[in-house]
Amino acid sequence: MAPPRRTKSSGPPPPAKTLVLDNGAYTIKAGVVQADAETPAPSIIPNCLARDRDKHTYIGSQLSSCNDFSEIVFRRPVEKGYLVNWEAEKEIWEQEFFDPKAKLHCNPSETSLILTEAPNALPALQTNCDQVVFEEFGFARYLRVTAPTLNAYTDIQSFFKSPARDPNSTAALPAEILMLIDSGYSHTTITPLLLGRPIQSAIRRLDVGGKLLTNYLTRLLSLRQYDMRNDTYLVNEIKEATCYISQDFKADMEKTWKGPKGDRRPVYETGDGIAKDYVLPDYHGRTKGYVRDHDPNAATKLKELVKGKALGASEDVLTLRNERFTVPELLFSPTDIGLRQSGIAQQVMDSLSALPMGLWPGFLANIVVVGGNSNIEGFVFRLQMEIRSLAPAECIVRVARPADPIVNTWQGGANLAKEEATLANLSVTKQEYEEYGAGWVAKKFGSR
């Protein structure tokens, strides 16, 4: 006798493993999550093909084996936050996930995939993505979701310092109301999320991201000190090590001015602690640069020290003064380089203006920043200060940053992967794709 027919809802058993893939422009945050096992820490994989001076090509995580980053060039499959070049991306994914020797090896036909994308993607790119995921890799189940959305599946109230919470209370996921600011490599997006769903009409994008900041710092350093234009990797490290967001831009600017001829400002040399030296790596003895306080007499001391010694004993130093705070200032004042957009705080208010006023207090009290730029010192404080000055006086403004803002999106995805019912509801299985086609899938993901 034939077995009883399965109803549609039961279907084949859901895949036991979920590959959560936060496919950022700069790094991929990836990990395999199983419903009954503990969530592993995600791997952070550079999302690029890189070629060094000796014409050796590194793919993804191979970059960690590189020890000479001078004149290294990159090819990134994700452009402006959107997955554009599948040739390169496939190469990276093949190596990181489908290679039998890979740390995160998984068999796509037995795995479901949660893949992030930036909001407001082009439909053509989304369709390409769906096609490759199902037809080339053949994942059993697939969810394409905007990256900000996943953050609603983390316990956002734990990021805020006040009010004190009952430590035993567990947060219901997804978060009810959340204003998410994602400041990444390509751009900064502002997404209001209600009940774990984005309010599409209020999403705003500021075209300032980590790449623009790095390139701007490169330009300033190349104009003023050494030509760093072929060493963006190094400049990025300098940026991460030294840049901060000023609490008082004008005052800091005064401290770092040398003053007119004949009227030198004494504060200039040390800049009241602002001036820092970055010792550049030479990729022989020193493969990583480091920061130290600026020492006005360093040059003479060094001359004494290396007198009559080998060349390797010397060091190259970049002195950073107003570069330290004028570069990340672009996030708050993009017009400084002629970019005709308002800063982050004003974009948050513009996003709110597209929402009913009844929701304003809720969004203003639950602002979370994620993405690499939020690691810049002073970012959260300044953002809160600026939003506070723009927001209605009666509203409470709270801005918080998760412990690790870079993997928070991934963490949300991992939490979602454990909630089988919600995930099954949101995802599309391979059978459904084959039955209803790409248009149906696009519509299903588009409506979220």
Binding site: P100, I177, D207, K211, T218, P356, E394
Partner: protein, 310 residues
């Protein structure tokens, strides 16, 4: 007409002719407009009386510099996928690729290409594309009870939130929400006429949509009833309104670009010294570039070639 199946698509802007030609380098090219779109619906309706009109030459310079800041590498490089991986040696085979996938994998289009494709297609009068019919600010507000001006009609609301906030109808109903700590204080002492309203105004459906919170209600204070201290709480949108908001289709890439709001346009743009980065207080006579003082001006003029002979 024989056109070999090639369909010409109406384009919103003139593209550069193929091949080459001597053209002055002041125009706007495709990769640059993606960064800084010149005419967009959202921008169009706002007053343009800005304090900082730029000349075409300065504009071109800014655009060029922004395009340079958007680059991945300083030089143009081509990094091919390593050949030893091209064959499937040591790889899990995913089966035979379909022609569509092969086409995607071989495509070398950049984001700028995709974006101009999208623009070209959306400028076609195609009723089958619902995406392009979204208004610039798709805000749907259907609150019959309040006299709040709709946000869509008032761009100033953007940041003058405080002011419009106070303009609210005094009869606005205060709903207890967990989202506002203020609400709980005034709630306990709301005057009678307001108390009577919720039954007609707020559908019962509204209650479970957002949780009501579990924070403790502060102890009542005699000053709570003072009309000067009562805070007006904006009305919570109804369930249908929220559903409508959530159901709105995504905006396009260009529409989602954050605006340059009116207040910021009115502010003078900060100018910096091109040499040392301090405030740009002096303008070079030759090129109009900014420097901070005479010393930096001398450095600047050593390589200021913008005017012949200067």
């Amino acid at each position: 007409m024989i056109n070999f199946g090639v369909r010409e698509v109406a384009n919103s802007r003139a593209t550069a002719a193929p091949g080459w030609a001597y053209v002055p380098d002041t125009g706007v090219n495709a990769s640059v407009t993606a960064l800084q779109p010149s005419s967009r619906t959202r921008v169009r309706n706002q007053p343009t009386a800005s304090l900082h009109e730029t000349t075409a030459k300065q504009e071109a310079k800014i655009l060029r510099e922004l395009a340079a800041l958007d680059r991945e590498n300083h030089r143009d490089v081509l990094i091919p996928v390593p050949i030893r991986h091209k064959d499937n040696a040591g790889r899990v085979s995913h089966g035979k690729s379909t022609p569509a996938v092969r086409k995607i994998l071989q495509s070398q289009k950049t984001f700028a290409n995709h974006l101009s494709d999208f623009e070209a297609f959306s400028s076609l009068p195609a009723p089958s594309q619902p995406v392009i019919s979204i208004p610039a600010t798709p805000v749907v507000r259907t609150t019959p009870s309040t006299a709040v001006p709709t946000v869509a009609s008032a761009p100033h609301l953007t940041s003058k939130g405080t002011r419009s906030h106070k303009k609210k109808d005094p009869n606005a109903v205060s709903t207890p929400t967990p989202l506002r700590k203020v609400s709980t204080a005034s709630q306990s002492s709301t005057p009678l006429p307001i108390k009577s309203e919720p039954s007609q105004d707020i559908p019962v459906l509204d209650a479970p949509l957002l949780s009501q919170g579990n924070s403790t209600v502060p102890t009542p204070h005699p000053g709570d009833k003072d009309p000067l201290l009562v805070s007006r709480i904006p009305i919570m949108p109804s369930r249908e309104e929220i559903e409508q908001l959530l159901a709105a289709p995504p905006m396009t890439y260009i529409e989602a670009r954050g605006p340059w709001v009116y207040e910021d346009r009115m502010k003078p743009v900060r100018q910096f010294c091109e040499v040392c980065g301090y405030w740009g207080r002096v303008r070079c006579k030759g090129c109009g570039g900014r420097v901070c003082a005479l010393e930096c001006l001398q450095v600047h003029q050593e390589e200021c070639f913008n005017r012949y002979g200067a």
